[in-house]
Symmetry: C2
Subunit: 187 residues, 2 copies
């Protein structure tokens, strides 16, 4: 059975300026290529959407930013789970759905690498799923790296933050693979 | 009620050379200071111990490295949970114990910052616990940062890895606070 593709938080609210500078502007286009290939192969696709409980968040349900990005919006027959914390496995039916469908092999992509993607990937690996992280279909924002606790604060650097977030996951919770390599494997 | 102190994986097996270079050699001494203060205050202490299922791991139950470090070993009346994945909340009674005892405020410290500490802190925050991360009672090893997926691999740097792992947690899953500040708050 093909891996289930799990797309995390590709919502319009991430276009808001308050998240700060980001890396990898190609993340959404890469994710859209994966989505197209999964649909063409009739392989399972699962969308995760963040419903923030934080006042003023562009991802709260009342805001226009709650909507999925146009190129990554679910089709009617695709499963959607809504979460309100970083992990797609907490407070959702995701794990039960994956177990019921026998999807024990996953591909994860989404926003943001250090927060919701990392947390969901960690839990997926620890729950026993075999996880591929489509690293170049993920991105990090300046706001994901908070240094005000440190005596030696570094400048927030979304590319460094993204690279190290993936380096912490790779080989421990998931295998990090590029979309090009993943798509060659499908073809 | 005082915060419950959760000490993660302070086991002799982390002295083995295979983890590579590490940062913060003071992590264990800082954790021991927290432990002493918690004991003096008769505040709750919980120890987490890793029972690796990986062949040859210094943390497998059959190896001497499974033992707690002497200065951080539990006393008879302290709770111990054994885990076999990174998260202290998966496959253990930790969450049920915390809920039963009403411990909704935690301090987390341990090894290693990017793997078991980060994963456990993320889940604690996402499960609704109020978490302080005692950042200088944690440490990272070279092996926590795997770059062989990248076109532009960086040298593994335990201090950078530790700093960014904490920067990803701080303000999102936990508040990162030094042991000195924590101990001043207790005094």
């Amino acid at each position: 059975m093909a891996r289930a593709l799990i797309l995390i938080d590709f919502q319009k609210g991430f276009d808001a300026p308050q998240w700060g500078a980001r890396n990898n502007p190609e993340a959404e286009a890469n994710a859209a290529r994966l989505l197209g290939a999964w649909r063409a192969a009739r392989a399972p696709v699962i969308h995760i959407r963040h419903a923030s409980r934080e006042t003023g968040s562009p991802l709260s349900k009342e805001r226009a930013g709650f909507a999925f990005m146009d190129a990554l919006a679910p089709m009617e027959d695709e499963v959607v789970f809504e979460k309100s914390v970083n992990s797609a496995f907490i407070g959702t039916g995701l794990e039960a759905h994956l177990r019921a469908k026998g999807h024990d092999r996953l591909v994860i992509a989404g926003l943001t690498t250090p927060h919701c993607v990392s947390t969901s990937t960690r839990m997926a690996g620890n729950l026993g799923f075999d996880v591929v992280l489509a690293h170049d279909a993920c991105a990090a924002f300046a706001g994901n790296m908070q240094m005000d606790w440190s005596d030696r604060p570094m400048q927030s650097d979304p590319e460094l933050s993204h690279q190290i977030a993936i380096a912490h996951l790779h080989g421990e919770f998931a295998q990090a693979i590029s979309c090009a390599t993943l798509l060659r494997g499908l073809a």
